[in-house]
């Protein structure tokens, strides 16, 4: 299993052909209390870098961008009624969607954990 990160503070954990996507602990910390989440539609296809969801705190709204291209195969519908899960468990129960990668080679363009930590300034 591989975990990769984007410059926009998403993580993707890849298991075979399926990647699970969420926002990083750094991102939820910066956003503050999450009060609203909008998820993509299951079955839709997205290209790397497309807006695939929205996360909003009391202060501001942010887009969630697809870290890779592919088909959305599952969304975390529990977040709609419990958006605070994104703050509590950003890399666990706070995942946003699962995507079937159409081009696994795109992962090579993403950051590994060390590179992301440097990027986020942690």
């Amino acid at each position: 299993m591989t975990v990769k990160y984007t410059e926009d503070h998403e993580w993707i954990r890849v298991d075979g052909a399926i990647g699970t996507v969420g926002i990083t602990d750094h991102a939820q910390e910066q956003l503050g209390d999450v009060v609203f989440v909008e998820l993509p539609e299951t079955g839709s296809t997205v290209a790397k870098g497309d807006a695939a969801g929205v996360v909003e705190s009391v202060k501001a709204a942010s887009e969630i961008y697809a870290p890779v291209s592919g088909e959305i195969v599952e969304v975390n519908a529990a977040l709609v009624d419990a958006p605070q899960t994104v703050n509590a468990e950003p890399t666990g129960a706070g995942w946003f969607f699962k995507i079937r990668l159409s081009d696994p080679g795109e992962l090579d363009g993403l950051m590994d954990e060390d590179a992301y930590k440097a990027h986020a300034g942690d």
């Binding site: 009060v35 609203f36 909008e38 929205v54 909003e56 009391v58 202060k59 709609v80």
Partner: protein, 366 residues
């Protein structure tokens, strides 16, 4: 951060940093946007108990002169001459077109007027007042301003200043608070009962620490200040009101007394009197989205056919409402409470209704 070097601080900046605040630039000041409790927690705490806000960035001014109230009325539509001693009133500086230059609080402090204006406008407001009052205007730059807000505010302040408990909403007294000479008004910007306390800058931190020593009191940042005032239906200058909006369009007609409406004598009186008599083409209203998605400032408001009828001027998540809340301007035909409209969020028209303001019942001590 290098940007911090150009920002002004308040007498409480060091205390905020010790308390773990996240500091951001706001109106030229380095201010706390949130403390470790977080915006949601701070908002809820203020509604349940009491929150302490640093509003020292706001401008505090003193106007002297025997006819100060009458002369002040040449700048604002509010009834200042009729303001009793020890009473505070909300009004606006208007321009010749009837637009709003700033909104402010004016207190009849007996032998002078005590004035509190917005941080972002204070230089312009000071210049405006200076032109009218000259040397009779004093900038109270050596004073900090604290707001203690929430249902426990009265009980907390009474432990340091027993006579504060006798005050009612929108009244003013000078009194010692914990032995420090202060100007106290029973007012605020949250919709809750509470006080604004003007304190000498060099005693502000000591007073803040005494207030924070109460278990009911938490420090509150600008994030919760904004969500609290939005739920309370209170305007934020530069967003809900500005030079392009008149007090009548902004639904602030209540702040213009009968005598002033009839006599005029303030900048923009011709337009404002005409709007009182004949109505306006648009009006500020509350907006309640029916779903969970917040509609932020700038969101387009349309009718059910998709025709644009206005814009959201403040919007976000209301923690006490437990859902999205907003306000904005709509064509007057759509201003009635309950009118169905659409808010275009990320290209999607979301259902919403015009809602009565405030969203949360006020806790003012009348």
């Amino acid at each position: 951060m290098t940007e911090s070097q150009d920002l002004k601080t308040t007498p409480l900046t060091a205390l905020h940093q010790r308390l773990g605040a996240k500091m951001v630039p706001f109106a030229g000041y380095l201010m706390p946007v949130q403390f470790p409790l977080g915006v949601l927690g701070e908002h809820r705490h203020t509604r349940a108990k009491a929150g302490l806000f640093d509003v020292s960035h706001m401008g505090q001014l003193r106007v002297d002169g025997a006819d100060a109230a009458a002369r002040f009325e040449t700048l604002v539509p509010g009834d200042i001459a009729g303001l009793g001693e020890g009473r505070t009133r909300y009004t606006q500086f208007t321009n010749a077109d009837g637009g709003i230059l700033d909104d402010l609080m004016v207190t009849n402090a007996g032998d002078h007027l005590f004035v509190v204006v917005n941080a972002a406008c204070k230089e312009a407001d000071t210049a405006l007042l200076r032109a009218t009052f000259g040397a009779e205007l004093t900038e109270l730059a050596d004073r900090a301003l604290l707001a203690l807000q929430g249902p426990s505010a009265a009980a907390v302040l009474a432990t340091l200043a027993p006579e504060a408990a006798e005050m009612t909403f929108m009244t003013f007294r000078t009194m010692d608070v914990a032995g420090i000479p202060c100007f106290v008004t029973r007012s605020g910007y949250t919709g809750e009962d509470g006080y604004e306390i003007s304190v000498p800058a060099d005693r502000a931190e000591a007073l803040a620490e005494k207030l924070l020593a109460h278990p009911e009191v938490e420090p509150i940042g600008l994030g919760a200040r904004d969500s609290l005032r939005l739920e309370a239906g209170l305007c934020l200058y530069g967003h809900d009101i500005d030079t392009t909006t008149s007090p009548i369009e902004a639904a602030l007609t209540w702040s213009i007394g009968k005598r002033r409406r009839e006599q005029g004598g303030f900048p923009g009186a011709a337009r404002i009197q005409d709007e009182i008599a004949n109505g306006t083409s648009r009006r500020r209203v509350g907006l309640k989205p029916e779903g969970r998605a917040p509609a932020r400032e700038g969101t387009e408001i349309t009718d059910l056919d998709g025709r644009p009828i206005g814009k959201v001027t403040s919007g976000g998540f209301g923690p006490t409402v437990d859902g999205p809340v907003a306000m904005g301007y709509v064509e007057t035909a759509f201003a009635a409470e309950g009118t169905e409209v659409r808010l275009v969020v990320r290209g999607k028209p979301l259902p919403a209704r015009v809602a009565k303001l405030p969203f949360v019942a006020p806790g003012y001590k009348r």
